[in-house]
Assembly symmetry: C2
Homo-oligomer: 678 residues x 2
């Protein structure tokens, strides 16, 4: 009896065959394709969906197809055939012309076209990697209605604006376990990022095994490092997703961890210990000794065999020159060789290093500071200082990658990152110089991160930046970006990313309880302060426990833009926008309702109590909003002095406290300012 | 300016030194120790807390100390020294007498004593493993108040009731990635489970690399298997946590995946394919050919080198004998050797297999069915059929492990598992026979699991069962168990387990949105049906996408016991229990309030729509509860027929639907039955 009933219920859900009503196409693609034309109708996704291969394929395309089918299965509950016969008999026909390079090159053709009709879908691409990009688009295209799942009839012609669309993760200051990096690569592939820049060495830790120099990790990593096998496996994991891996070995500065085992590399005598404090330290490789270059030749050669990408990053940032200035031998060397300052000495080091890197078949990338007079033109500059320094490089003929506006630890909004363009409309670069701008790279520095918090710092903001790197420069509608971002955020979560779950987990840990309704509400309108504010406020080091409210909350949560949008729409016609008014009031009511329980909860532990003031400020924000909405929708005036009082409340809430800031103050300020006084 | 303000705020949270007010000791230990005496006062945990070693130590204790300190740091936000000097100068002095066995034995002495006074703590243990158990207790002892963190003054003498406290995970039917197993081991160590039983081979997949027989995984695993290096690393990971790893190679049945690459092992000609359907299949190893034993000798020898534990599990369950009966050669062999039936043939196989297992230095474990006449007494029986078969084995002199009442896929409550005792008070075993009951093992079968859902199936219920295996038989207070379980559940989450986060993630995926308040409420009063009900209802196979509401919800969520408790207390004096009445009404109001949005949301996709009826039933349950509470607290009678109508609503909600069931029906039934009619 029981068995039959359940079977009937479930049978009721597998009726997409009967549901051919074409739903309106809602574009939830991120990044936006270069060209999309919506057609009439749609293709119903049923259990008979399958894929055939009209062109070439390789292990990368095969595994991407398998993952794509799995994603579609999890999205729809349908079970698909994983057989991929040759020919054009499939519901989706993939036609890739060439397998491209086994080791994906920077020049890989990633373009594809995707045509979906009510009869089926065709994906055409010049290379396997292009086909993989098309499959990422396909997954995002799925439309869900109560009746079933559909692929809308569309015609897409797509190719990236920039060749280099990267994400850097600093695994030096905090080690990130392999599963964290794997799920990050899954997320990158979903939004068509194509370079994983692996920052592997820092003052705080040397993270990649060297068999030639075992003391690098043996003494410089606290046991937290990637074995060569793990690194190779991760490179392969990335390759299967169309992602290049560029390793970084930062030198001559940021090298304290090297010196713990090999003090003879340093420019001042040891002994050295792993540096726990962040910032710019004096330790620097001695560029004047031949033994240095012998060491680096062996080391770079060993690494070149693990990381097959064309490019290798040698860091080069923030070398302060102090050890060089205070070492008489180095000073003598500079005099003898006519090297006039430490900048020139770093240029000498880079030139020697470049020869080694090139000897091992690699092209060299370095941060801004490597750009010194005399630097050969075949070095690529990654700009963390700003678009001006990137442009300056391009004008001198250097290829460049922009990173300055994409520092995730600045805790800026998706919107801010999104609107920063590697080649802004105002650029004075010539067309030829613009070609030298390879693209951009998101930077996730690791000072205040661990494996639990990293996802919410990277996602979903990186999806918005990925669109900047891929889509046409004209795609700049912020509201539409956010609408699509919230959809993509859920898709990223289903790939295994923890950017959404981590907040509640952190709140439960703080509360010691599953009952976090009030805390969840408070957290929804808070975000972390910037790296710098936290660093100065908390004096974080590598050993600081990352277990505070600031670690639980996430940058640019939906509350900020949602509230801005609501207020903007409401203010267009306060008397008429009933829906917006009700939503605003419901939100403010929720804040008020949560307050008593929340304030009780904040006294449960020191870690909560330190953020108690934020909970105390919440009802004031709620009443500010409610009163403003009341005056505005009734068309009445507030008593004289009301505005000043409310703006004082908002100003108070804006003050730094507990390393978190409110996301809704701009919206509330706009509301208050719109009120007229008697 | 900003910098100074934040620093001041944070400074405000590091004042535990000034907060010596001793909080009342609240026991949140799980498992309960054998003996605990609470003393006056407490020891304040401050940044100066450190550990010294008065006795021996080894890599296991060192790494456990490091993890313990990290857990304490994350709990308190304090940064501790990780130096562990010799002597008794530490705030916590650990005195372990012996390092015990490098490969932990079943007879390892796990006892310890822990004494905490306002001046400090002393942990004494006969072995390093005992000290590790004591550290797990220490972490659970931490008391949090607004003023700071404390270790209560207690005196604990602790040792386990059973030597074998296991958790089996079936990685055959669905592969579980290494990180899943690692976090499971972390959870096991926290609640003092000490055996990880790794079910590595099944009809649906062969999961462990054999270098001698590469086709086992090459053709029998879909590429989803553990390399030998990974397996060794996991064994070491477990060893560092005081957990033995017992591998299982299930035979002669459940072996289809072996035969894909090696059909010559089977009792019927091939070819074979990986079996996607669950259940008992006919494929069985041919026990009559010498080549079988040559194969097994090599294979067992290879595995014995990877898994250092004393014990090896050879399965032995559910071999239906059909292939043996239909193979003339095998029939002839049986006649020639006087083997009267397939049971006797399996006994013959086991006897031969036992010799091989023992040759490679292992003791053999098998499921119930290996217990056939003539089975040597040195085989240990794991009972999945029930306590009777375990007792029958003990009476014949076989050591045994109880599993039948600990099948997590039955989706029973923690309470039900908790009250099942390997040696119940009613046992008729002699004292000598009772010694043969080594303990118990929780079984997590993998038919309807994946890496996303497994945690909520295992945790926190396994913590309650772990208490059954460790604590005295007299510890049976269910209410107190639940009170401590909800606390431990949060601690397990902070170890990285996803049993709490997975529900929201699943709901967001179903909704395609972050807005899941209504769904979250519905899910809070639902739980999955049993494996059997789902299997018959959905016809799940290895290829079924596990993406439904049933996959998101968790077994025995807090709602069940919380509601039972509230109703029980309320019914003691309905007119007087104001607090309980208000809590009940608030809960029912929440259900009602969520209903409109919830019902809209359930129409968003087929996967939600299939559970729509559950959402439609929720308001009926709410009004039933509210009306009952109203009558009872007012002391008024319901109109005639009211009860019948409400019980019909509850009966309707109890019917199978959408593979989920309500958790609150018992409580509501009790409420309704307490109402008097006119």
């Amino acid at each position: 009896m029981r068995r039959v009933m359940i079977a009937l219920v479930l049978a009721g859900c597998s009726f997409p065959l009967f549901a051919q009503a074409a739903p309106a196409f809602v574009n939830t693609l991120m990044p936006e394709p270069a060209q999309l034309t919506a057609q009439q109708g749609s293709f119903a996704l049923t259990a008979s969906f399958n894929i055939s291969l009209a062109g070439v394929h390789d292990d990368r395309l095969d595994s991407t197809i398998s993952r794509t089918l799995h994603q579609l299965e999890m999205k729809t509950g349908l079970e698909f055939s994983h057989q991929t016969p040759a020919g054009d008999g499939g519901a989706l026909v993939i036609d890739a012309v060439s397998t491209g390079n086994k080791i994906q090159s920077i020049d890989e053709d990633e373009s594809y076209s995707l045509n979906i009709t009510p009869q089926g879908a065709k994906l055409h691409a010049a290379t396997v990697v292009g086909a993989m990009r098309g499959l990422a688009t396909l997954v995002q295209l799925v439309q869900t209605t109560r009746e079933g799942y559909f692929l809308p009839a569309v015609s897409i012609e797509d190719s990236p604006r920039f060749r280099w669309r990267g994400l850097m993760i600093d695994c030096g200051r905090h080690f990130e376990p392999i599963p964290v990096l794997e799920r990050t690569l899954d997320g990158m592939a979903a939004v068509k990022l194509n370079v994983f820049h692996w920052h592997l060495t820092e003052d705080q830790g040397f993270r990649i095994e060297s068999k030639i120099f075992p003391k690098l990790t043996g003494m410089g990593s606290d046991g937290l490092f990637y074995t060569q096998d793990q690194a190779k496996a991760l490179v392969e994991y990335a390759r299967q997703r169309g992602i290049r891996v560029v390793p970084e070995f930062d030198m001559p500065g940021h090298t304290t961890s090297w010196f713990v085992g090999y003090p003879e590399l340093a420019s001042a005598p040891g002994p050295y210990q792993i540096q726990r404090v962040f910032g710019v330290h004096d330790g620097a490789i001695d560029p004047t000794r031949e033994s240095t270059y012998k060491f680096l030749d062996k080391f770079i050669g060993e690494m070149a065999a693990i990381f097959p990408d064309q490019y290798m990053h040698i860091g080069g940032d923030e070398s302060n020159g102090k050890q060089w200035k205070s070492n008489p031998e180095i000073q003598k060397f500079m005099q003898q060789h006519g090297i006039k300052d430490t900048g020139a000495l770093q240029a000498y080091f880079n030139t020697r290093l470049l020869k080694i890197v090139e000897k091992h078949g690699k092209r060299m990338v370095g941060w801004d500071e490597v750009l010194n007079p005399g630097l050969p033109k075949d070095v690529t500059i990654q700009s963390w200082r700003g678009i001006e320094s990137l442009s300056a490089g391009a004008k001198q003929g250097y290829a460049g990658i922009l990173s300055a506006p994409y520092y995730l630890d600045a805790m800026k909004s998706s919107e801010t990152h999104y609107l920063a363009d590697p080649i802004p409309a105002s650029s004075d670069l010539t067309a030829e110089q613009q070609k030298l701008i390879l693209g951009g790279e998101i930077c996730m520095w690791g000072e205040q991160l661990d494996g639990r918090t990293i996802d919410s710092r990277i996602w979903p903001r990186s999806a918005a930046i990925a669109e900047r790197f891929w889509s046409p420069a004209t795609v700049t509608n912020v509201d539409d970006m956010y609408r699509r971002l919230w959809v993509e955020s859920i898709q990223l979560e289903s790939l295994g990313l923890t950017h959404l779950t981590q907040q509640d987990a952190g709140l439960r840990e703080l509360a010691g309880s599953e009952n976090i309704a009030g805390l969840r509400l408070l957290a929804s309108v808070l975000e972390p302060v910037s790296f710098g504010e936290r660093y100065h406020g908390q004096h974080t080091s590598q050993l600081t426990p990352l277990d505070r409210l600031v670690d639980a909350v996430r940058p640019d949560p939906p509350s900020r833009h949602t509230m801005n949008l609501l207020v903007r729409d409401f203010l267009k016609n306060p008397a008429g926008m009933v829906n917006e008014r009700e939503q605003l009031n419901a939100t403010f009511q929720q804040w008020l309702a949560a307050t008593p329980e929340l304030q009780r909860q904040m006294t449960r532990s020191p870690l909560l109590a330190e953020a108690q003031q934020r909970a105390q400020q919440l009802p004031g924000l709620a009443t500010t909003g409610m009163e403003a909405v009341g005056y505005l929708s009734n068309g009445t005036k507030a008593p004289a002095g009301w505005k000043q009082g409310k703006l004082a409340i908002l100003a108070d809430a804006k003050k730094p406290d507990a390393l978190v800031r409110f996301t809704v103050l701009d919206a509330l300020t706009n509301l208050v300012n719109a009120v007229q006084e008697q």
